[in-house]
């Protein structure tokens, strides 16, 4: 499996990290890897959306699932593996949550992970995706998140945007094509 680095977006106090070119029929799979993404504001969530018009609008309809495993540094609270109904969408057009309740209390808090987007240029089928992420949550601890779903459109997805639910973000996101 050859994986080719296509684009690197390095964000510093940016409202979003957008990929508006090179998502086409060159590859059947696009992988977005995010490294030490950090919000400016405590307890926000990291999210993404797709566009069918080159990034003019990020409001594609999607149906999704989300579950998490979490564990606090003080071993307190609820250590859990749980499906999060508040984090999924049923034919929604909002940005999809990937990491919830992100910490920013310390300068060393961040999120990492990877999002797989399958066959985005296909005009026959819906477009599937899944994301595995790991982050430092606002109640200090580890949170491992699993999100999957599909863009319910037969239009090609040709742009992808990542952002926080509120305020700006720092971090690096790389887009790879898999041949």
């Amino acid at each position: 499996m050859a994986m080719t680095l296509i684009t690197t977006n390095t964000s510093s106090d940016a409202a979003s990290s957008d990929f508006t070119s090179s998502i086409d029929n060159t590859y059947k799979l696009y992988i977005f890897k995010f490294y030490d993404v950090e919000p400016e504001t405590e307890s926000v969530y990291f999210s993404f959306q797709g566009s069918t018009d080159g990034g003019s609008n990020y409001d594609t309809t999607m149906t999704t699932t989300n579950f998490i495993a979490s564990h606090r540094e003080d071993d307190g609270g609820t250590t859990q593996l749980i499906y999060r109904t508040g984090n999924d969408q049923a034919e929604g057009s909002a940005f999809q949550l990937l990491c919830q309740s992100m910490g920013v209390g310390g300068a060393d808090e961040s999120a990492v992970g990877e999002l797989h987007l399958f066959n985005p240029s296909n005009t026959t089928y819906v477009k599937h995706f899944y994301c595995t992420a790991q982050h430092y949550q606002d109640t200090p601890g580890s949170q491992n998140s699993f999100t999957a779903g599909y863009f319910n459109t037969t239009s090609a997805i040709d742009a992808v945007s990542f952002k926080m639910s509120s305020d700006n973000m720092d971090g690096t996101i790389k887009m790879y094509g898999v041949g």
């Binding site: 540094e73 250590t79 491992n144």
Partner: protein
């Protein structure tokens, strides 16, 4: 990325071009060129090292983890314990420090299914609170109760993100699947962070009891 000589690069290109026809991936390429940098020239995922285990108490990778790559991926092939029903573990060491004893906060959950089919609670998915850590310094469990029968082993993949960062904690994500000692599939998802802003430059793998009898661990760098 390890620089290659012109001869090595040519050999690599031949190997990659004719891989399916004349040269299986792995042994011959490594024998000809060494284990570092054997991925395709210009590739964005680079094989950095291959460790073949032979009845070792620990498997330590003490070079090649630095700021060259933002992500290191370790793949595990047929890791086989000498002792039955033991846990596969990992820890790391901070640059300039001694000992594999960094502070970790982690989560772990599992799925389980016996060969017999099982019923009720013997099948399913659950959080495993006995295998996570809350600011602990022990070796982190990755796969549990691995069987030591002749055909029993584990496989998996561990992502270590941005280990050279001196700003952020170091996140990791593991997914593994094992032959459980009581004849079942036992799959584990472990994730967490190493709670230090010191760079991580060494990593260690072992079983909780007994040696790592055999197996292969490959380390990749992601550009």
């Amino acid at each position: 990325m390890v620089e290659q000589s012109g001869t090595a690069l040519l050999l690599e290109q031949i190997c990659n071009h004719h891989e399916d026809k004349i040269m299986p991936l792995g042994a011959f390429k490594a024998a000809l060129m060494g284990t570092a940098g054997v991925s395709a020239a210009g590739a964005d995922v680079v094989l950095l090292s291959t460790t073949t285990v032979s009845d070792d108490a620990t498997v330590d990778i003490t070079s090649g983890i630095d700021s060259t790559y933002g992500e290191y991926i370790f793949r595990f092939y047929n890791i086989h314990p000498a002792t039955d029903s033991t846990e596969f573990l990992f820890q790391v060491n901070g640059a300039g420090e001694s000992g594999f004893n960094e502070t970790i906060t982690s989560t772990q959950f599992r799925t389980y299914h016996p060969e017999s089919g099982g019923t009720g609670g013997s099948i399913g998915i659950s959080y495993d609170a006995s295998r996570d850590q809350a600011e602990g310094t022990a070796y982190q469990e990755l796969s549990a109760e691995v069987g030591s029968g002749n055909d029993e082993s584990l496989a998996g993949i561990l992502h270590l993100f941005n280990p050279a960062s001196t700003t952020y904690v170091k996140h990791f994500i593991w997914r593994g699947t094992a032959y459980y000692s009581e004849d079942a599939n036992y799959a584990n998802w472990t994730a967490g962070y190493i709670n230090t802003t010191t760079a991580i430059d060494e990593i260690s793998f072992m079983f909780a009891s007994g040696n790592v009898e055999s197996g292969t661990i490959k380390m990749w760098g992601v550009k």
